[in-house]
């Protein structure tokens, strides 16, 4: 029997015995579940029903090979929604994946009953269903991961706005990539933090990168100069990188003297200069 | 430690020394010797800590106090400093008034321009001290005396 026939057969089977399979599945889940309030039970039943409704058509049209195709779109969407709802209520990704995997048992029972007389077909059917549900279960984990990543990225953005990201690039070399508009108060905090980090790490050079700073006003420029002077008094040198044309103009207009400050176009260039100063070089393996 | 334990009264009657409704507590310290300068630094540091100023703000305040205390001794012939704890209902602060009966500063504007020359000249450095604090007031009259008041608020 071809896989297509197989798919057709299983699809029909699921459709036919939907109620029983569903009941069995729900019973299994409820026995495993820690959540026992009626609201979550009702939601669980709903999820199971919705999934089982979509499964036969998708199996029929899309087959078992891949769940990426158009035929499986609806099922994937459904799973994404289920996954999202469960995550909101505190389900772990494993719990949501188990939601899918536990359908195996119910489907196997049903398959064994209806295909009792056809062992080879039964074996193939069991295998197909197993791998299909594996893929669907793993899919829910990926979905969970992606939404978590999005949250993390957003939180990182927020943190960047607030915190002072001083990075240790190398032994003795620190980098302070400034991002966003700087106001006087924030600049002061950031600069003080840089000086503290210099002491903490014993860095000899600090690269202040202002690629991500759209404008610089008098106060900020002054703070910058004062920080460089303070770092020098402490025994560390600063390099400014990422000065864009507009900022260069502002600095000149303000009459800020950058004569004894090394400036480089990019952080990378500054890094190379810093490396040379601390006595290291990067070489490519032949 | 030599010198009187109570401050010699300074005759220079500056309005800067008048009582203000913002003052909660007041302390007067003598300024005649090197050791007095060290004592003032210590006491101002204590006040700064009480005010919960950040380390940088503390350092700026104590340094300003040290500069002005030295000026009082070197150029004013000695005098006193009054340390006042301030509160305006919303924030707390510290006010220091350095007073002496010395010759006075002839050209205040000049004194406020930076007095630290690289040649090691002995400028008054008032401009520098001014940058370290939130409020700065100076009252000086030739032949009568000088009073300098500085305030640092806890923001």
């Amino acid at each position: 029997m071809t896989t297509n026939d197989n798919a057709r057969r299983i699809s029909a089977l699921i459709q036919q015995h939907q109620a029983e399979i569903g009941a069995d599945w729900i019973a299994n889940l409820e026995s495993m579940s820690f959540r026992s309030d009626s609201a979550s039970q009702e939601q669980l039943r709903r999820h199971c029903r919705q999934f089982l409704v979509l499964l036969p058509d998708a199996t029929l049209t899309g087959g078992f090979d891949s769940i990426e195709g158009r035929a499986w779109d609806e099922v994937r969407d459904q799973l994404t929604e289920i996954s999202g709802q469960r995550a909101k209520q505190g389900s772990t990704p494993s719990e949501t994946a188990t939601f899918v995997f536990s359908l195996k048992q119910s489907l196997f029972t049903s398959l064994r009953q209806t295909l009792a007389g056809e062992p080879e077909l039964l074996a193939e059917a069991l295998w197909n269903v197993s791998t299909l549900l594996d893929k669907l279960g793993l899919f829910t984990i990926e979905v969970f991961q992606k939404s978590r990543d999005q949250i993390i990225v957003r939180q990182q953005q927020e943190l960047l706005e607030l915190s002072t990201p001083v990075v240790k690039l190398w032994t003795d070399i620190l980098a302070l990539p400034l991002i966003g508009t700087l106001d006087s108060a924030r600049t002061q905090v950031v600069m003080e933090s840089l000086l503290e980090k210099i002491v903490e790490t014993g860095a000899a050079i600090a690269i202040i990168d202002i690629t991500g700073v759209p404008t610089v006003d008098t106060l900020v420029a002054q703070h910058l100069m004062k920080t460089i002077a303070a770092a020098r008094l402490m025994g560390a040198d600063c390099i400014i990188s990422g000065i864009r044309p507009q900022i260069a103009q502002t600095i000149v207009h303000l009459g800020v003297n950058l004569d004894d400050v090394v400036t480089k176009a990019t952080l990378a260039d500054a890094f190379i200069v810093a490396l040379a100063r601390v006595g290291s070089t990067i070489s490519r393996k032949a | 430690m030599n010198g009187a334990s109570s401050a010699d009264p300074v005759r220079f009657a500056s309005p800067l020394l008048e009582a203000s409704r913002l003052v909660r507590a007041s302390q007067t310290l003598p300024l005649h010797t090197d050791e007095h300068v060290v004592a003032v630094r210590r006491i101002v540091r204590e006040h700064a800590l009480e005010l919960k100023l950040s380390l940088v703000e503390q350092t700026k305040l104590v340094t300003a106090a040290s500069e002005l205390a030295r000026n009082t001794i070197k150029y004013g012939g000695g005098g006193m400093v009054v340390a006042q704890q301030l509160t305006d209902g919303v924030r707390n602060g510290l006010r220091l008034v350095f007073a002496d009966d010395g010759p006075g500063i002839a050209d205040i504007a000049q004194a406020l321009r930076d007095g630290f020359t690289s040649g090691g000249g002995l400028g008054l450095g008032l401009g520098g001290a001014k940058r370290l604090v939130d409020e700065f007031d100076i009252d000086s009259r030739s032949g009568e005396g000088t009073a300098v008041a500085i305030v640092k608020w806890k923001k």
Partner: protein, 118 residues
């Protein structure tokens, strides 16, 4: 009168300032250092101020002067361990200590001195 001890390490002089110095003590230190540079034929002077939470214009000038005199006597001076709050305050005061080399700590200071008189 108390004095600040000066340690000799080879042809190097090390001074660790740990007390809140009054002006007279600072002047005495400056004199002592100058004397010792000649007496010990020192090539380098390391001034460690990592324990100081305050450096005002007087101490600042003392350090500048010491460095200047040392140079005349053919010795290099390195100032090490300035705390961030002190550095920020000195910059605000307008004191830049020209002619004084700086390093983060004694170890780096010695490396710096080693390089300069080779």
């Amino acid at each position: 009168m108390d004095r600040i001890p000066i340690l000799r390490i080879g042809d190097l002089l090390l001074v660790t300032i740990q007390v809140d110095m009054h002006d007279r003590l600072a002047m005495t230190l400056q004199d002592d250092l100058t004397e010792r540079i000649v007496k010990d034929q020192a090539k380098g002077v390391l001034i460690d101020i990592s324990a100081l939470d305050l450096v005002d214009s007087f101490i600042g000038r003392m350090i500048s002067n010491t460095a200047a005199m040392a140079r005349v006597l053919d010795a290099q001076t390195v100032l090490v361990g300035m705390q961030p709050a002190v550095a920020i305050t000195l910059v605000e005061l307008g004191l830049t200590l020209p002619g004084v080399k700086t390093a983060l700590n004694v170890e780096k200071g010695m490396l710096l001195l080693g390089k300069s008189y080779q």
